[in-house]
Symmetry: C2
Subunit: 212 residues, 2 copies
């Protein structure tokens, strides 16, 4: 054993692979442990390489978050893709409903999206701004694609109403994932979520309904 030929399995020497491994590890850490335990040590540990590489290749944890953000818009788009297969919405009401319920489903399915959304409201650091930007870019992209020529009724402040709807969906899903319920409404099995969907649909429906 002059040189320990088995001690280090392989110093692989593959920069691209390491970078990808680091971003992947960062996403895993963020998804599983949340933004609390997020840092260079945890990510490097999970990626199985030295944290120095994070500084060298990404300039620190900021660059790593930036790399996650770069994938984020596409990731959200993928989640909303099935909605596009349903064909064009017939009314503005239907458009907003789809957006709200699609976002709800996406957040329920995607732990990382959920964690990032929670991060956004708990931290005003510049770190998170890029993530927020990427996420809303993804949303705006989808809306732009499927809106067509549908316009909201002029009597309501659609921008404000939609912001409120989106806020509701985000908070509901995030809080429910933490506690299994919110404001007395159980949110565990699919029947519970059907109630939530029904409420959102009722709200959107009634607020955009043209009244005689």
């Amino acid at each position: 054993m002059s040189k320990k030929p088995k001690g280090q399995p392989k110093p692989v020497r593959d920069r691209g692979g390491r970078e990808r491994a680091l971003v992947e590890a960062a996403k895993q850490v963020l998804a599983e442990d949340g933004f609390q335990g997020f840092g260079v040590n945890a990510v490097a540990r999970r990626a199985g390489c030295d944290k120095q590489l994070i500084y060298r290749y990404f300039g620190g944890v900021e660059g790593l978050v930036g790399a996650i953000g770069a994938e984020l818009a596409e990731r959200l788009r993928d989640h909303l893709a099935p909605l596009a297969a349903m064909g064009r919405p017939k009314s503005y009401t239907e458009l907003v409903q789809r957006m709200a319920l699609g976002l709800m489903q996406a957040l329920r399915e995607d732990l990382l999206l959920r964690r990032i959304t929670a991060w956004e409201v708990s931290d005003s650091s510049a770190l998170v701004k890029s993530l927020t930007a990427a996420r809303s870019r993804g949303m705006a992209l989808w809306v732009g694609e499927t809106r067509g020529d549908l316009v909201p009724p002029a009597v309501v402040d659609a921008a404000a109403v939609n912001a409120v709807i989106i806020a509701a969906v985000q908070h509901l899903v995030i809080a429910a994932a933490s506690a299994g319920e919110f404001a007395g409404l159980a949110l565990r099995d699919e029947a519970d979520w059907e109630r939530a969907r029904g409420a959102v649909k009722a709200l959107v429906n009634s607020v955009y309904e043209v009244r005689p």
Copy 2:
């Protein structure tokens, strides 16, 4: 300088006062630095006494959070008190509107409430559960007091709808405090917030409106 007789101004020896000072410091740290920087060191530093006292009098940081929770229901009640002065709401719609807008105002005014609400969705640890419980107790208390004999229209799932409304308000205020806007809706000056209030009112109004 054999014993530094002037070094310690006064070891006041007032347990009750120290306990109150620690809880007060804990609230300040939580409000100003958020739950990220929250811990025995920060609280003891702010309170100007040794962290050992936290362990002795509160059994650790959990007991400290519990003490905050104990004040929380009352704190929320105080914020909602002005609403009670408006007299009984004339309809269920008005009841829910008041609750939603009152909660919005309370969260906008009270940094601590906001931080705790953000904490609740970002952390599922047992630490936070007591806070969540205290907050919803405060809400339920107020609703129970002012509901009277008002009942929601039977056609809508009021529990689900109200949960959605509350979620919207909480998320909107918390996110806006972090970023100054949400989902493209600026939320800085009072005119912006008037749009948000209008949207919430419109939603509540239309969903609970009995249609012919």
